[in-house]
């Protein structure tokens, strides 16, 4: 592809920057600017999406990016990645164990009774998708009333903050493949390019910061029939994972903070034969920063699909690591798409010249 350097347009480009700010402020200038606290709290799922697609856990900065880019999740995630690229890498955390997650939601569609119980937490799963018109005129007093009402009802049960994994129970029954201790270092997608075949850790990292819609679209193709994963959600949990790091003086593991994450394990079609040992269920795993259940489930399905593709060869697009992993990143794909808006005067001039020549030759033949 040929590009050409252009010049001029400085005043228009400056004007465009002001125009976009004008659109944000509104023509009357009477609207109150969005406060970051309000975005972080009231648009928490949007913030979660930007955090996970940006690959940086910072709800405050994600809120700022959402404000700056007027709700465009792709641009907001891009801004978050640009921000992180200005920071030095200080450390890698030791592997964090998600069984320590302080859950706010935990469900299973495999069993109605799971060790520790199921907690629906904050979810729209059982809500009617009807517009609540009263929300159009809310006041701070409404918010205070919601909080008072929710906290006033005192439940009898005292529950722990952490819960055992459903998979552990299935594994104890011999229904899952055994776990082999992995000594392989995890693949760092922020510093190494994907060269296929890639280890599973590269696939998981890529899927974890992928664009939600892209993941869902490819996972959906598998669900609808371009694949045969047939997943059952063994466990889906949302909660705060304490990040444990060594204390600079004592070396003892201390809690440096916590991050909200969503995690999903799916159990899929069993496989195996007598030669390999008894058949067991296959597994898929999904996790992402923030609260994003659609993404975590889609990722778990694709993890399983990719394992199958890597083992047996890809029978459909969702099992093809190269197809999936190179097309799910929102910042990459948005960048490529957006570049078509930039001047392509030379390439298009060349296309026109060729077309005119071809048309001329075509007429001459007739």
């Amino acid at each position: 592809m040929a590009y050409v350097a252009i010049k001029g347009g400085r005043a228009a480009i400056d004007g465009a920057a002001e125009a976009v700010e004008f659109m944000r402020a509104g023509s009357t200038g009477k609207e109150a600017p969005l406060q970051l606290d309000a975005i972080e709290q009231q648009l928490r799922l949007l913030v979660s999406r930007v955090i996970s697609e940006g690959g940086l856990y910072h709800p405050r900065l994600a809120s700022l990016a959402i404000k700056q880019f007027q709700g465009d999740t792709l641009e907001a995630a891009f801004a978050l990645r640009a921000y992180r690229s200005t920071k030095p890498r200080l450390l890698e955390t030791p592997p964090q164990d998600t069984s320590r997650m302080r859950c706010i939601r935990r469900i299973s569609s495999a069993f109605k009774d799971i060790p520790g119980g199921q907690m629906l937490g904050p979810t729209y799963d059982y809500a009617l998708r009807l517009m609540r018109l009263e929300l159009a005129d809310e006041t701070p007093e409404h918010f205070r009333a919601i909080s008072r009402r929710f906290l006033a009802a005192t439940p009898e049960a005292q529950l722990p903050a952490t819960f055992p994994k459903v998979l552990d129970a299935l594994r104890a029954e011999g229904l899952l493949p055994p776990v082999a201790e992995s000594r392989e270092a995890a693949f760092d997608i922020t510093r190494e390019a994907l060269t296929f075949p890639v280890p599973r850790s590269a696939a998981l990292a890529t899927l974890a910061r992928a664009e939600t819609g892209s993941l869902l679209g490819i996972a959906y193709s598998n669900m609808r029939g371009y694949g045969d994963i047939h997943p059952t959600v063994a466990e889906l949990r949302v909660g705060y994972l304490p990040v444990m790091l060594p204390h600079p003086v004592t070396g003892e593991t201390m809690e440096a903070g916590e991050v909200l994450i969503t995690e999903c394990e799916v159990v899929a079609m069993y496989e195996g034969n007598a030669a390999d040992g008894p058949p067991t269920f296959t597994l898929g795993y999904g996790a992402c920063l923030g609260h994003n259940e659609t993404k975590a489930i889609s990722m778990a399905i694709l993890d399983r699909a990719l394992q199958k593709g890597m083992k047996d060869g890809a029978a459909n697009p969702s099992e093809d690591p190269e197809f999936v992993l190179l097309h799910v990143d929102g910042v990459d794909s948005m960048g490529f798409c957006s570049h078509y808006k930039m001047p392509h005067y030379v390439t298009f001039q060349s296309d026109m010249d060729r077309l005119r020549t071809t048309q001329k030759k075509s007429k001459e033949r007739v």
Partner: protein, 156 residues
């Protein structure tokens, strides 16, 4: 004070940053503070163990700051303090490292730092109680339609 040192940063982190910085500055006026390593702020790669196959992978990145200081009193006593937090403020993590040293060695005036710690701990306890409430209010006991004795009787 019955809060483990490994939980101090978490407790202090629940309070407004200005308050932590002000408290540390107060101690720094009467103590000599030496940075063992300069406070740093940057990125931490968050490693997760996937719970399906127990393989490590990187979930994403977090902002991390860490500091390590030594405090010296006028009479020559020394105390080491450190902190590592999910934040990008060098000033805040250094302030936490100072408070860590004060609390660990019970340096003069440590009681005021302990009060801060208790307040931060209380904020966390309140948050934990709200999460507990969230779980308890939404605990679900599904039963399979048709297996309930009453339903079977009704069917008959």
């Amino acid at each position: 004070m019955n809060i483990a040192r490994t939980d101090w940063a978490r407790a202090l982190g629940a309070l407004p940053a200005e308050e932590i910085r002000a408290a540390a500055a107060q101690f720094a006026r009467s103590l000599e503070v030496q940075d063992i390593s300069l406070p740093q702020a940057g990125l931490g790669l968050l490693t997760l163990t996937d719970s399906a196959f127990h393989q490590p992978f990187y979930l994403g990145e977090v902002l991390v700051a860490r500091a390590h200081v030594v405090l010296r009193t006028a009479d020559g006593a020394e105390a080491s303090g450190g902190a590592v937090i999910l934040d990008d403020s060098k000033q805040l993590v250094r302030a936490m490292a100072i408070l860590d040293a004060v609390l660990a060695a019970h340096l003069p005036g440590w009681e005021s730092a302990a009060t801060l710690l208790q307040r931060g701990h209380a904020v966390h306890a309140e948050m934990a109680a709200q999460r507990q409430h969230l779980l308890a209010r939404t605990r679900v006991d599904f039963s399979i339609l048709g297996l309930d004795e009453e339903e079977e009787e009704d069917d008959e």
